[in-house]
């Protein structure tokens, strides 16, 4: 079945800076994907519930406020708890290099910082297509 890839873009935690997340959402839309954008101030629980109800292939998490370690970790834990497999998770925002390593260990495929191109994000997703 050749359905378009479905992606959830969400901002976790108390962070209202949504310009970047919206740019990514629109970029992936232009790359032919169906993008559910759930906006700012989502809890990890809401993000995982939304991903399950929407049956997405990919989750993109954004954080620019420094809460990424706690928030993203919780998302990964909940996905494990719900026994979700085969789902690609990537992240973006202002995230220090040391944390990038830690996040990748948690199972986050890639972390995109400022200046990343939409094409590189789209490529990561397309390559991982199940």
């Amino acid at each position: 079945m050749n359905r378009p890839l479905k992606v959830l873009i969400a901002k976790a935690g108390l962070d209202g800076h949504e310009r970047g997340a919206l740019v990514v959402a629109m970029g992936l839309r232009d790359a032919g994907m169906e993008v559910v954008y759930t906006g700012i101030r989502n809890t990890p629980e809401q993000i995982v519930a939304a991903a399950l109800q929407e049956d997405v292939d990919v989750i993109g998490l954004s954080s620019l406020s420094g809460g990424h370690m706690a928030q993203f970790k919780r998302v990964m834990e909940l996905l494990k708890k719900e026994k979700v497999s085969g789902l690609l998770v990537f992240a973006g925002g202002i995230i220090p290099d040391d944390d990038v390593k830690k996040l990748k260990k948690l199972g986050i495929k890639e972390v995109f910082g400022p200046g990343s191109s939409i094409a590189s994000i789209a490529e990561l997703i397309t390559k991982s297509r199940r």
Binding site: R3, R29, Y37, N42, E54, D55
Partner: protein, 319 residues
Amino acid sequence: MKMHGNELTKLVTRLESGEPLPTALYRRTGNARILGITGPPGVGKSSLIDRLIDNLRRQDKTVAVIAIDPTSPTSGGALLGDRLRMQRHSEDEGVYIRSLATRHHHGGVTDSTPQIVHALDAAGFDIVIVETVGTGQDEVEVAEVADTVVVVLMPELGDEIQRAKSGLMEIADVLVINKADLFNARAPATSPRYSALKWERPTIHTSAKSGEGITTLCGAMDIHHAYLVHSGKLAKRRERAARAEVTRLLQSRLTASILRALEEPQAQTILTDVAKRKLDPHDAVEKLTKEILGSHTRSSKHAATSTRRQTTKRRKTRR
């Protein structure tokens, strides 16, 4: 819920891709109330639904929402941005929200909408809400699915002539003027009048922002439902819905066989003759119908006896 969450999610994905609903599930449908929420982009349909969910959950009713946004005609992608207005209900187990892209279907809903509504109905939700894309005047397909259609507008969208036009304004069972907090919009003091024989469409002023008017709107929808039941109109609407759904399925099957038929060499010759002005388009249709189409539609009728056989057949033709 009679169906586990994940099972439902996967089923909806399959229906979205055009697979048919299992027969056993269709037999379990017909119990949910189907509400259609439609209106132009940006009038606050999603925010209003967020408030409706609140109200319905307080009455202990379970709610499923399908929220539709348009597919890009150029990229085939979509930005599905309705859910974010209702995201706070995500964790509530009595609520299921699913965003859908139109995938090039016109009419305000998706190809798969009737089947997905059946699935949510069979899953045991009390209320199924269909939120259309932001509509223009002519996208009225939601009326083929919903028991009660709510058309949402906002202040300053037009004068009396706009109200008198056909299409969107005609399908409203309940008319809502949302954002009533703007432009000093005054609510006319009409409450829905209800007799078993005649429904007088109410106009209700709401503000999804403040929550004003939501209880009145819920009341009006309840009264409309009672009217449908007591007047016998509900059964009629469901008949109309069944007819519309079957007609559309039939049309898409016939379209598929027409496209297949046009691939044949004999048909290609006819098309070339039209291009060369040897044959006019109407005569071409006559010829195609007589010589080629007959055999094709007959063969697809036999395939219809088993949907599984039909899918294999479809796959084969694609190769």
